[in-house]
Symmetry: C2
Subunit: 363 residues, 2 copies
DNA sequence: TTGTAGGCGTTATCAC
DNA sequence: GTGATAACGCCTACAA
């Protein structure tokens, strides 16, 4: 039940007109041309180069001159023009992190990792929520950043390879792509899934169902492979392809679980391709009074924060997101520095045992 | 219980050396100077200006010439230089969203709102996770973006006002700041808190405790004010300042609730300054077998996603994050266009009633 | 220690 | 329809 308060002071919500912006530059709006280094130099009574020196190599200009320049700069509220600088320097000292989805501490952790490494080397970082294709074009194709870390399944491999061909420094996450001038990093989806499935067998479950993600999801495919391997090891013939495909959402998990229940034959454990779907599974099981973990075991993948709050708490496979970010940035820095890199890096996952499966202490 | 798999193929984790980057430019790494529009023009046998026209005003150049230019551009893998363009155009067509914290669908929703509006007007958006002060300097002071939306309590008012003085187009969120050339947008924290508290009274609780956020949090102060107002309206003398200060984290909520229980006198309802703390409250109450909502009512603030997953589900005050993003970007566009703006906008909140307080149908 | 001059890659204004 | 040419603002040899 949601009770909306009234809207207060929102004023004009009508569409803002958008045409015509093309012709307008910022300073023309206000009639206040921005001061340039030239103005600073003039006011300080020095040449442009001295002014520039004062900012970039303070030691190379006399104390007295420098303070005069700094004062002038302050008086004029001078702000250097980044574009001019970048153009001249031929470097932006900035990297982009391209994400499709922002929600969840999941990505936030990744970004943290990147940030920390970037900071250490004085690199700046911007995140682009690359819903729009031209957004990535702007950043990468037009060299507005020196390099990029890409975690966005919706950017096509062609685009990525094209950029790599042009030696644009790039680290791609969770992609099955190799290129001489690119680093590809991924968590060990296959291994994590294998461990999870194997654990379920070890915990006494016999009939383990894999609830896949979207057909085209590489992650889901890899996880399925790990599942298959564990089945084979347990002398069970695995299906050649997943029996059910969700869409990585809670709703998808609900739907697929309902289908499963309607189908008559019930497995005694479910390994869901991600936590979101596992949440859906859990919900439907609860509605049908199927006891977890007694009547049905469940393990997810990702370790999203909510996993700890549902009851029973969700067992899952944790991806090392922070470490992924750290590694990604480190490798990007190597690319940027022209140092040799490994083309492919895989990071291990960990099995997090909580309430949706028995916790075997001897494991 | 967490079982780490081994690390696989991580290779060299040692520190990347960072000095010496200063002298190196991207192309020098590889020895591949990037082709410029000049190269394209030469290969196509036209002048630079014609090449430029072919890209920017295709209709103004002969069909045949144009295709020749495009071909040359493809052959050379030409990529325009953004910095040069921005410098010449004096506009980046990009805005920045400055966030302190990324986690939670909370901020993701805000960003979505901004994105949608930005897209409509062909503006690009980058997010900066402004942990580092120079990151915002780079973006804002050096004009690498045309404008910014700021939601980060850790950026000081001085910095903000300084930029505003210089007419840098900026929309600030959740700040008690006014400036002629700036738009300030906030959710109605005070009103939302008032509604929540009033509702608790209406639901039959008499002794409502406010668990505040950090002392210096404006949001928390405003919410306290709403709480006070509701108390006064109920003919109860409110405390002049909050009796307990958490830190907006779950752990803080736990700590403060434990203090409360230890203190002997128990209220019959708690209004927590945010959901994170409310989660902590809930946890401690559960541990002490205090029935919610029967023995204790509870309402939080924010409506984070987890609120729906705990049991009982958390009642809360929802901030219109998406709408906040939309509004912020719309106002920013107005600033950018030099159109008149309201200096201050307040958006209404809504009370979301779930399991931690009775749901009064007649409300 | 400071000034002169050239150029980074574009786009736009003019001529032709 | 196309081509010189001049900025945009900054940095850095090099010269003084």
């Amino acid at each position: 039940m949601v009770i909306p308060n009234q809207w207060i002071g929102v004023g004009d919500l009508s569409l803002t007109m958008c045409w015509g912006y093309d012709q307008i530059t910022i300073e023309s709006f206000w009639g206040y041309p921005m001061p340039t280094i030239k103005d600073v130099a003039k006011l300080a009574g020095v040449s442009i180069s001295t002014a520039s020196l004062a900012f970039n190599h303070p030691s190379r200009v006399a104390e007295e001159t420098r303070t005069r320049i700094l004062e002038a700069s302050k008086r004029l509220q001078y702000r250097p023009n980044g574009a001019a600088r970048d153009l001249r320097i031929r470097r932006t000292q900035t990297v982009a992190v391209l994400l499709h989805d922002l929600s969840g501490p999941f990505y936030s952790e990744l970004v943290q990792g990147v940030q920390v490494e970037a900071d250490r080397c004085r690199y700046n970082m911007v995140i682009s929520h690359s819903n729009r294709q031209d957004s990535i074009g702007r950043l990468l194709y037009e060299n507005r950043v020196d390099g990029a870390i890409l975690l966005d399944p919706y950017v096509s491999d062609d685009v990525v390879l094209d950029l790599a061909d042009q030696r644009f420094p790039m680290v791609v996450l969770d992609r099955d792509l190799s290129h001489e001038f690119m680093v590809s990093i991924a968590a060990d989806h296959e291994g994590g899934a294998y461990e999870a499935t194997r654990y379920l067998f070890g915990a006494g479950y016999h009939d383990i169902f894999y609830m896949a993600g979207p057909q085209n999801s590489l992650d889901s495919q890899l996880r399925f492979r790990g599942y298959q391997r564990a089945l084979i090891e347990a002398h069970i013939t695995p299906p050649s392809s997943p029996l059910a495909h969700g869409d990585f959402t809670e709703e998808g998990g609900i739907r697929e679980t309902q289908n499963l229940l309607a189908g008559g034959h019930l497995p005694d454990a479910i390994f869901a391709a991600n936590d979101e779907m596992a949440l859906g599974v859990l919900q439907v099981l609860r509605e049908h009074h199927i006891a977890v973990p007694h009547d049905m075991g469940l393990i997810g993948f990702d370790d999203i924060r909510i996993a700890q709050y549902v009851s029973p708490q969700l067992s899952t496979v944790r991806q090392p997101m922070y470490e992924l970010g750290v590694q990604a940035m480190r490798q990007l820095l190597r690319l940027l520095a022209g140092e040799p890199v490994q083309q492919r890096i895989v990071l291990g996952t960990s099995l997090v045992l909580r309430g949706t499966c028995p916790v075997l202490s001897e494991y």
